[in-house]
């Protein structure tokens, strides 16, 4: 089968869907190919911009502060790339305005969605996780807003788990959080924990987050839950209730509001591990935004290769079970993710890019085609310095075009975005979805410009 689109975007996570939406907004037709699961839907749903320097231990008060530091210390960081170009304003300022534009755009796009986000570049939010730990992040979903329990003198924070749902142990989160806030001499006056019973579809054990969330999406499902929460809140005098993120896939915002009204406490969701409902909400909201903009999303389709004429890609070959398609195009964005997304593959004899056969590099921009992944790991499993294998990927020019060993872009009209890029370690910096957003935003704009050139 043959299709046509001004822009083909390979990869349907944060980076690809943002790039696609931007293309639509530029008046161009586009197709997003997505072969499988994305890191985006596994994420906690909180959008990190930057929390730490690589190997740093002091969190940035604000993403702005972090962007300035990165711009001066890491000029090839995907954010810093925005600073390149002629004349004024200065490098770091350009980076900040660039990131601000992308963040403002996304907030606007998601404002009526299930994944409405709050926050901005002026301060990092210390969000609570299901382990009772905190991490600095930039934008959180509205249902995760905890309204400053940390500063209220006579607050009581209640961690509330669900019986038979093993992804969250309220007791452990409460203890871990309490000890930490005692050390830091901050936080609520009291911390408590308890469990409630929800039996989606009659289950009493092995309950999954998505079962609970789907169950709570039904109008009448809160009925079972509300009295239990109310009773616990009243007994313990809780002013704030921390729940695992299970309040609904579609209806979380409404559910949260109803619970708050009925129990008279502030209710919020914690950052969680996969399968993570807020990650799923974000993924869905991005997909919906893209579709609404007029883009075409082909799920279960894998880009297999692409054809170049002279210095431009002219078509992308994709496959799905029992289906093979060729899409003629004017520009291409590669947003295939890292190892989870499948954009990069690391074997014992080297690191390869999986669709366009692009050059891979290490975090220090040394060619990585022959590296042994072991050599790019730390002996420590969890390390503030990270494992440098996760900062390997593609290196790009200031327009986000992947560069080949000769220093030239692979093609005039191929752009790359998201975690497939090298030069940053989102795990330790806390910058994953932020880099995907920003690079997707600009790769999309540049691809649109490149496509327009063709006519």
């Amino acid at each position: 089968m043959n299709l046509e689109a001004d822009i083909v975007i390979v990869g349907g996570g944060m980076a690809g869907l943002v790039a696609g939406t931007i293309a639509s907004e530029g008046g161009l037709s586009s197709i997003v190919l997505r072969k499988g699961e994305s890191a985006t839907s596994m994420s906690s749903g909180a959008i990190d911009v930057v929390g730490y320097l690589p190997d740093g231990t002091i969190p940035f008060e604000s993403p702005k502060e972090g962007l300035v530091a990165l711009a001066s210390l890491y000029p090839f960081h995907p954010y810093s790339i925005l600073g390149f170009g002629e004349g004024k304003p200065a490098f770091a300022e350009k980076v900040i305005t660039g990131v601000e534009a992308a963040v403002g755009w996304l907030k606007d796009k998601l404002k009526d969605s299930v994944a409405k986000i709050v926050g901005g570049l002026d301060s990092n939010i210390l969000s609570l996780s299901i382990l009772g730990t905190t991490k600095p992040t930039c934008l959180i979903q509205e249902t995760m807003v905890s309204d400053g329990f940390a500063n209220e003198f006579d607050s009581t924070l209640l961690f509330l788990g669900v019986k038979g749902y093993p992804d969250f142990f309220a007791s452990a989160a409460a203890k871990s959080f309490l000890e930490q806030s005692e050390i830091e001499q901050e936080g609520p006056r009291k911390v408590a924990h308890s469990t409630v019973r929800i039996s989606p579809f009659g289950n009493t054990c092995n309950i999954s987050a998505s079962e609970i969330a789907r169950h709570l999406d039904h109008d009448d499902a809160l009925g079972e839950l509300l009295p239990q929460i109310k009773k616990t809140v009243d007994t313990l005098g809780a002013t704030h209730v921390a729940l695992p993120p299970i309040l609904g896939i579609k209806n979380a915002r409404g559910n949260r509001q109803r619970i708050e009204e009925e129990v008279g406490a502030i209710v919020f969701e914690l950052l969680a591990f996969p399968p993570s409902i807020p990650g799923l909400r974000l993924q869905r909201a991005l997909e919906e935004t893209y579709r609404k903009s007029g883009g075409q999303l082909l799920l279960g389709h894998e880009a297999l290769s692409a054809y170049k004429e002279k210095n431009r890609y002219v078509s992308v070959q994709a496959g799905a079970p029992r289906r093979s398609i060729r899409i003629s195009t004017k520009a291409v964005v590669s947003a295939t993710g890292k190892f989870i997304g499948g954009g990069l593959r690391g074997a014992e004899d080297g690191l390869t890019e999986t669709v366009f056969n692009l050059m891979t590099v290490t975090g220090n921009l040394i060619q990585a085609d022959n590296i042994r992944p072991y050599d790019y790991t730390s002996p420590f499993a969890v390390d503030t310095g990270g494992h440098s294998i996760f900062s390997c990927g593609l290196t790009v020019d200031p327009q986000f075009r992947p560069v080949m060993p000769d220093g030239q872009p692979d093609a005039d009209n191929l752009f790359a975005a998201g975690s497939t890029l090298a030069g940053y370690d989102y795990l330790v910096e806390k910058s994953g979805l932020g880099v995907a957003l920003v690079s997707g935003f600009y790769a999309g704009k540049n691809a649109a410009d490149a496509a327009k050139e063709v006519d």
Binding site: K135, F177, F339, Y374, Y426
Partner: protein
């Protein structure tokens, strides 16, 4: 100060077997293990209780092993499994070397209730195992028994405990004093409490595996071993239906054994001068094993490697013979010859011989103490062997999947009913905590209450937590929370346990880090580093021996 008839140093297969034998013969027994039960060599072995393909030229050892298999099937049938094995041959020379093995094996087959060796055509071989190289000229078929090494050690320890022995883990022997040419006191450091204790004793059994020389030295005695490194590569599932034994690139024999839910590819045998505490599999060992197995199972590299493990065999000190030709038998040393009465040490040995080794040394100990009881360890069943278990009935009765019930049975035999009973009062404890295995919350709580684990790694040895394809990615934080609840640990303890277990798993994952494991590790790091921010936690974390210094 406490007193003991015998102090057993080391809680591997040998030490736990000795403690059990001593206790069953009525001796006042104290077993001291510096780490956890089965935390060292035995935990890295393949669990094969073999008829002795590797030591055909030592017929007395083959006899002993065959007899031990019969014993283990009598006392521990619930944790024994049988694997059919194919030995594919690519050349005529392979065939001739197989002949003498077939003869020796078949002589002892009836005793172990297995068929004699069969020679199969390539077609029949491929029917049994379609992954074999179609160019083989024939294969040998035979059957071998395997045992869960962790459960064997645990059950030996628990049985010893029930017979009155004191089993102390996390207690490191730091000195053995000798008075009037006899052992007198054992000093040990309790790593959990932080105390030094001493115990008076007339006899000491040094079952320290590769650490035996160091332990002997504490009593001014000498033990010499020839330390031999062995490594395994572990694949994520049962990629073969049967065990495969093949000739490696250097002409030695290597194997691919289905083991629990995984497959073991092993093993190397290398003289080593490394510290056993920091030892890991090397890139060369991994590639040696893969390339060798590729000849008979060409698709082996496509299988997903989840980790490696390596251990040191404390071989008998035969020198100037090739490393793979050192005897696989054992020796018991009575240190009386160097004027230290009451101290006994082992060199050599195998998992399959642990009961035999224990009987030999306990005879010597009893003689020294003037005790006349006979050995019964080959007759008295280990806990859980009381009866057969009806998986289907239990599954229906307790509302737990048949798969989970069967895995529970394979670890615990009849004792599983005590785990299942816990779910009557707490139906939500039927929840799966480790989905790879699977392990239920009830079994974790039961194990914490009954089997004295101190941390998640100890739980792994007892219930196989975190041993599957995800290597603890999804169960670590859940099990840590349960451990915290059960042992009333602090919030810091909760996080320390998470980090410790991630570190322990990483030790084995890192060496073979490639392909799908990069995907898996991105998820693990995404959870613990990116979301939970544990790389920034300020808890007191003790670097592990293999992590080196920064």
């Amino acid at each position: 100060m406490t007193k003991s008839d015998v102090v057993v140093v080391g809680g591997g297969s040998t030490g736990t077997a000795v403690a059990r034998d001593c206790a069953l013969r009525g001796l006042k027994t104290l077993m001291l293990e510096r780490d956890d039960i089965a935390s060292a060599t035995v935990g890295t072995c393949a669990g094969m209780i073999s008829s002795g393909l590797k030591y055909m030229d030592e017929p007395h050892i083959v006899d002993m092993c065959s007899q031990e298999v019969v014993h283990l099937n009598r006392i521990a049938r619930h944790i024994v499994m049988k694997n059919p094995i194919l030995t594919p041959m690519l050349e005529l020379s392979d065939l001739s070397s197989g002949g003498s093995f077939a003869e020796e094996y078949s002589k002892r087959a009836a005793k172990r209730e297995v068929p004699p060796v069969l020679f199969l055509t390539p077609e029949d071989s491929l029917k049994i195992e379609p992954k074999l190289n179609p160019n083989i000229i024939a294969s040998m078929y035979f059957e071998e028994f395997f045992i869960d090494p962790f459960r064997l050690c645990m059950l030996q320890a628990i049985d010893a405990q029930r017979a009155g022995a004191l089993i102390r883990t996390y207690c490191e022997v730091i000195d053995i004093t000798v008075k009037d040419d006899s052992v007198d006191e054992v000093l040990f450091y309790d790593r959990v409490k932080g105390d030094i204790e001493r115990v008076k004793t007339k006899t000491v059994v040094n079952a320290g595996g590769p650490w035996a020389p160091g332990i002997a030295k504490m009593a001014e005695s000498n033990v010499e071993i020839r330390p031999n490194k062995g490594a395994h590569v572990i694949l994520d599932r049962r990629v073969v239906n049967v065990g495969i034994i093949a000739k490696a690139v250097d002409g030695r024999m290597i194997y691919l054994f289905p083991h629990e839910n995984t497959v073991l590819l092993g093993t190397t045998a290398l003289d080593t001068w490394e510290d056993p505490d920091t030892l890991v599999a090397s890139h060369d060992e991994i590639e040696y094993l893969l390339q060798s197995m590729e000849w008979v199972v060409p698709s082996i590299r496509e299988a997903r490697i989840i980790r490696t493990m390596a251990g040191v065999r404390p071989l008998v000190a035969n020198w100037k013979v090739p490393e793979d030709k050192v005897t696989r038998g054992y020796e018991t040393i009575d240190h009386e010859f160097e004027d230290v009465r009451g101290l006994f040490s082992f060199t050599g040995g195998k998992l399959v011989m642990c009961r035999h080794m224990a009987e030999t040394v306990t005879d010597l100990v009893c003689e020294k103490l003037g005790v006349k009881h006979k050995c019964t360890t080959h007759e008295i069943p280990l806990p859980g062997m009381e009866a057969d278990v009806d998986i289907l009935a239990f599954s229906a009765d307790y509302g737990i999947s048949q798969h989970a019930v069967e895995r529970l049975r394979a670890r615990r035999g009849t004792e599983m009913t005590r785990v299942l009973e816990l779910t009557r009062e707490n139906p939500d404890w039927r929840t799966t905590i480790c989905a790879c295995e699977p392990v239920l919350e009830a079994e974790i709580r039961y194990s914490i209450r009954e089997e004295f684990p101190q941390n998640l790694n100890d739980l792994r040895r007892r219930v196989r937590l975190g041993t599957g394809p995800c290597q603890g990615t999804f169960c670590t934080y859940k099990a840590s929370a349960i451990l915290m609840e059960e042992l009333d640990l602090s919030g810091e303890g909760f996080k320390v346990d998470i980090l410790d277990f991630l570190a322990e798993r990483w030790k084995g994952k890192r060496q073979s880090f490639r392909r799908e494991q990069l995907v898996q590790e991105e998820v693990t790091q995404g959870m613990y580093t990116c979301v939970a921010n544990l790389d920034q936690s300020e808890i007191e974390y003790d670097p592990k021996p293999w992590e080196g210094s920064i």
